[in-house]
Amino acid sequence: MISTLINPKQIIAARVAKELSDGDVVNLGIGLPTMVPNFLPEDVNVILQSENGYIGLGPLEGDIDPDLVNAGGQPSSILPGGAFFDSLFSFELIRGGHVDVTVLGGLEVDAKGNLANWMVPGKMVPGMGGAMDLVTGAKKVIVAMEHMAKNGSSKILQQCRLPLTGKGVVDMIVTELAVFRVTEAGFVLEELQEGVSLETVREKTEAAFIVNPALA
């Protein structure tokens, strides 16, 4: 466990790690979410699912096996107790509620729990890959993203503008400033990251949100 968090991504990953319990089956999106396991306490072991067809994803150790990559295409390993299967079964697990938590990046999240993270019309259309199935099927969907876009605009909106990845699917947002839960009543601010004021979060969040009384 790393104790000094030097950049926003680390702050986010470390906070997401606290949401995971020992034995959870977890699918991590590429990029920031893959940093989450670095911040797990030693007594918390999660089981990583990889949508290209396995359980027990581990970091590359030793020689590269060209037949063994993670869902980002990077050489990886499988941990003892893991299992390989085909893409059909992989998504039976994902859609069927057998993945406890999925952690993904986001471009926009709105007060209805809608998530947009797969395309920017006219600009970036990489395809949704497994993201739409993951947000639909995982028991808990955590969006791990920086609070604002590069141009400084809020990514936490009253209503998404970009094409959706999933409708009403997000349970929680973790940014370098705050932690929100998505409820029937809209966003609830649950936590402020260390050293962040409520005013800062209000200023940098376009969406309305309720503040958890415990915070006030």
Binding site: S50, N52, V69, F84, D86, L88, V125, T165
Partner: protein, 220 residues
């Protein structure tokens, strides 16, 4: 029934305008030599069904780069910039399908089902033009089956009856595609005699496999 086939024979199995499925996930589990055979056979205007379009140099990527593809049905095209470029230029039709839905559609095509009722994509652009079916108060998209004329698979090992064993994450879409094409061609690393594979360990039964090409081209 001899299913063993040479690279020369492989080349004769393709025709312009065909629909082809190819196994693989970012090139892992894609039969690279069969893809090369297609390239050399100069086949054009194919419809390609694959999880992704891999990279410019590997997987099914070279088929895109060399403009052999008229339409691609895939879940991800982001790692091969040429796919996006041709799509934006209007040179290539791209149908993006959620990965789990793509797997289900191929399986439905191969297993006699009328389609798939999936919650994935409800409320997104994926639902455009599709029928929605409500089951017990919840909405699902009716996603239609996919089939191909030829499926190109990659396996680790085959016996001469075509029973296949895949290796690690190179399994991915290969077993599904074995069900869903008129002709199934597999590239294998290793060929063994009938009876050498324990029947409990077979991942794709030989009755689904029409042609076996041993990687490197040597037939035993």
């Amino acid at each position: 029934m001899n299913k063993m086939i040479s690279m020369e024979e492989v080349s004769t199995l393709f025709t312009d305008g065909m629909t082809i499925m190819a196994g693989g996930f970012m090139g892992v589990g894609t039969p690279q030599e069969l893809v090369s055979a297609m390239l050399e056979a100069n086949v054009r205007d194919i419809t390609l069904i694959a999880n992704d379009t891999a990279f410019t140099e590997t997987g099914v990527g070279p088929l895109i780069v060399n403009r052999r593809v008229k339409k691609v049905i895939a879940s991800h095209i982001g790692t091969n910039p040429e796919t996006g470029r041709q799509m934006i230029a209007g040179e290539l039709e791209v149908e993006l399908v959620p990965q789990g839905t793509l797997a289900e559609r191929v399986r439905a095509g191969g297993s006699g089902l009328g389609g798939v009722l999936t919650p994935t994509g409800v409320g997104t652009v994926v639902e455009e033009g599709k029928e929605k079916i409500t089951v017990d108060g919840r909405e699902f998209l009716l996603e239609k089956p996919l089939r191909a004329e030829v499926a190109l698979l990659k396996a680790y090992k085959a016996d001469k009856a075509g029973n296949l064993i895949y290796h690690r994450s190179a399994r991915n879409f290969n077993p599904l595609m074995a069900l869903a094409a008129d002709t199934v061609i597999v590239q294998v690393e290793q060929i063994v005699e009938i009876g050498d594979i324990d029947p409990d360990e077979v991942m794709t039964p030989g009755i689904l496999v029409d042609k076996i090409f041993v990687q490197g081209g040597c037939q035993s």
